[in-house]
């Protein structure tokens, strides 16, 4: 019992099961349907992919506010290359991801090597990437190649592809963060950066890599979202950074670093997705949705802290 309460993965899983059961009882015809679950997973897949990158950053004790803008830029840049220069889908996607990785590299270099505050740097990058997205896409780019659309619109076993990409990414990074020495160093860095550096870990390089991974995952999410929508919108990903940070904190990360697990990012995103889905089914007005999500976040963290203290 104590283990369950202490581990956010368990406690959040239990909470999710309770919510699903209650919502299923209240809305059996609309909530508990295969179509609704497929849609729900599809809707949260983009946030969950970005949340994986944010989880790694938060474990390392940093965060990135520019992920939403990088997502928009990657999608718009890829679409721009295909639409205006007729670049083949494979190369355009590669270039879009490389460009997003480059922005992540710039973030990482300036933060890790030049000592710029992560909040200031990523806030600046948020503006730059959004401006670049606007510049390359104008109003929006539509009529993208068929095979580009197939990346995000195809289905496997009846489930749209972004959900499978999300599961693959979560699986790969869960393995890397739990089983490989290289990635486990992020826990040391997040817990005590100075001690990590003294023990021989190349902290600056590791931090830069974390920003590159986060930006690459945002780029993948941008390409998938553009493919799914069939259009590149420069307004994509607005407010994504806060949603993702909320999901990751819910999933067990801490702003002070050193804690968190990749499945927590998925569970946090799942929690946010289910909450949003229930609010749509219950016809809760948009006025209330942000307020309710905020209250849920505070209540979850507060309950979690209270239970832990009681057991201590």
């Amino acid at each position: 019992m104590r283990k369950i309460l202490e581990d956010r993965i368990y406690s959040l899983s239990v909470l999710l099961i309770v919510i699903v059961v209650v919502a299923g009882l209240v809305y059996p015809d609309t909530f508990l349907t295969a179509d609704n679950f497929r849609q729900l997973l599809l809707n949260l897949s983009i946030d969950a992919i970005v949340a994986v990158g944010m989880m790694i950053l938060l474990i390392a004790g940093v965060f990135d506010l520019s992920v939403g803008s990088i997502l928009a830029f990657a999608g718009c840049f890829t679409a721009h290359l295909m639409f205006f220069y007729e670049v083949p889908v494979f190369w355009a996607v590669g270039a879009g991801l490389a460009a997003s990785g480059l922005l992540g590299c710039l973030n990482g270099y300036l933060i890790a090597y030049k000592g710029i505050n992560a909040m200031i740097q990523t806030l600046a990058m948020m503006g730059i990437a959004r401006g670049l997205a606007l510049m390359v896409s104008g109003a929006a780019i539509q009529n993208l190649p068929y095979w580009f659309g197939a990346i995000g619109q195809s289905k496997l076993l009846g489930v749209q592809m972004p959900v499978w990409y999300m599961l693959l990414i979560v699986g790969v990074f869960t393995f890397l963060m739990s089983k490989t020495v290289f990635f486990r160093r992020y826990y040391y860095i997040g817990s005590n950066e100075v001690a990590a550096a003294l023990s021989g870990i190349r902290v600056k390089r590791m931090k830069m890599i974390a920003f590159i991974i986060s930006a690459l995952l945002a780029g993948i999410a941008g390409v998938l979202l553009t493919s799914r929508l069939g259009a590149a919108l420069p307004t994509m990903g607005r407010g994504l950074e806060l949603r993702v940070i909320t999901a990751v904190i819910l999933g067990g990360a801490s702003l002070s670093g050193g804690v968190g697990r990749i499945p927590g990012a998925l569970l946090g995103a799942l929690f946010m997705g289910i909450a949003a889905n229930i609010m749509v089914i219950a016809r809760v007005s948009g006025y209330w949705q942000d307020i309710i999500v905020g209250i849920i976040l505070i209540l979850t963290l507060w309950t979690d802290q209270s239970l832990k203290k009681n057991y201590e």
């Binding site: 609309t30 349907t33 179509d35 609704n36 849609q39 729900l40 599809l42 809707n43 983009i46 997205a133 606007l134 896409s137 104008g138 109003a139 929006a140 539509q142 068929y146 659309g149 197939a150 619109q153 195809s154 289905k155 496997l156 076993l157 009846g158 979202l225 929508l229 069939g230 259009a231 919108l233 420069p234 307004t235 994509m236 990903g237 607005r238 407010g239 949003a276 889905n277 749509v280 089914i281 016809r283 007005s285 948009g286 006025y287 949705q289 942000d290």
Partner: protein, 352 residues
């Protein structure tokens, strides 16, 4: 008798054999189950609302509006107020859903989740062309679907009601030419990256292009913020003290431009045209700070949009023995509700 090594090798071979068989099965199952999207124009059935079904009693009917920026005052005061009034008049349930901020992907997610709940009809704010696929899903599910405000190219919705944004741009351009005598520097602003506003910008520029004396000094993104519009205006006026006019394309452009112009003591001298007719806009017109408003008849979008949904659900006007089989929609397909030109001469008629 087998030694330990050969036994291990056999187990290992069996294990890899099993793994390979499993992998082949997984690939076969996934390969067979992979569905590619249909190509544009390929025969995806568009299901018309089934008029032969008996309509549900009014208390069981639900009409859902799906928009973005659900808390935007212009939407609340015009679109949503008219939609709610219509619901009360008809005695049916109306729901308004969507994200609080301007977030088109979130609007699409909401629309796709609403489809699964099978409402009587869906009224979609046509905020961006990317909505087309979600709209098509609603139509394919047999739900009467009407788009309002801006049309969605590629969408198979049953009807559209709204304004031609290109005309909004032209109207502002023509008024600006009249106000400035066809000479002077002009700047314009709105939310960059929105397809309807880009149409408006195009309309404005097409008019100004005919007048060589009109010089466009800049296109700016005010991010739908009064503060940002005011900041841009004061910067532009600092760079071009002889600026003749400003054109605005979102609800907050006008109040922001007017604020900066007033603070710089240039009220009335710098000509301002903009969109929308909220009380704040009307007050600025009566003060002579804003010279013309290109107003949309937004109440008509949602009132008649909802009425169209109701008529489709009830089969009010049948045009053939079976409209569904005939592939026709029994409501007007495209309705341009037109524009309202508000100036100092007629503003009193619109003031609350």
């Amino acid at each position: 008798m087998m030694n330990a090594d050969s036994s291990y090798n056999m187990r290992s071979k069996r294990f890899y054999g099993l793994k390979t068989t499993c992998l082949v099965w997984v690939l076969l199952v996934t390969g067979v189950s992979c569905e590619l999207p249909t190509r544009t124009g390929e025969g995806q059935a568009v299901q018309q609302p089934d008029e032969t079904e008996t309509a549900a009693p009014p208390e069981n009917e639900e009409y859902v509006m799906v928009t973005t920026a659900v808390t935007m005052p212009m939407y609340v005061n015009h679109d949503q107020a008219a939609f709610k009034r219509w619901g009360e008049k008809m005695g049916v349930k109306v729901s308004i859903l969507g994200p609080a901020d301007w977030d088109v992907p979130a609007q699409i997610n909401t629309l796709e989740e609403v489809i699964g709940t099978r409402p009587t009809g869906i009224l979609v704010n046509g905020t961006d062309a990317a909505l087309a696929q979600a709209i098509n899903k609603a139509v394919a599910a047999g739900i009467p679907t009407v788009v309002y405000d801006s049309d969605i190219p590629g969408g198979r919705h049953h009807a559209f009601l709204g304004t031609d944004w290109y005309e909004i741009g032209r109207m502002q351009g023509e008024e600006m030419v009249k106000l400035t005598g066809g000479k002077g520097k002009i700047a314009y602003m709105g939310i960059l990256g929105l397809s309807n506003m880009e149409d408006g910008f195009r309309g404005l520029l097409d008019v100004l292009a005919v007048y060589p004396g009109m010089q466009v000094v800049g296109k700016y993104d005010d991010k739908a913020s009064v503060e940002e519009a005011a900041r841009i205006t004061s910067d532009v006026l600092a760079a071009h003290p002889d600026l003749a006019g400003l054109c605005g394309f979102d609800s907050n452009s006008g109040p922001g431009m007017a604020l900066a112009v007033k603070e710089l003591g240039k009220g009335g001298r710098v000509k301002i045209t903009t969109v929308d007719w909220e009380p704040e806009h009307l007050s600025l017109v009566s003060q002579g700070i804003i010279h013309m408003l290109a107003g949309q008849k937004r109440e008509l979008f949602t009132w008649y949009g909802a009425q169209f949904l109701h008529d489709m659900a009830h089969g009010t006007n049948r045009l053939s023995g079976n409209d569904e089989r005939a592939g026709i929609t029994s409501v007007p397909e495209k309705v341009n509700t037109g524009l309202i030109r508000i100036t100092r001469e007629n503003v009193a008629l619109f003031l609350p």
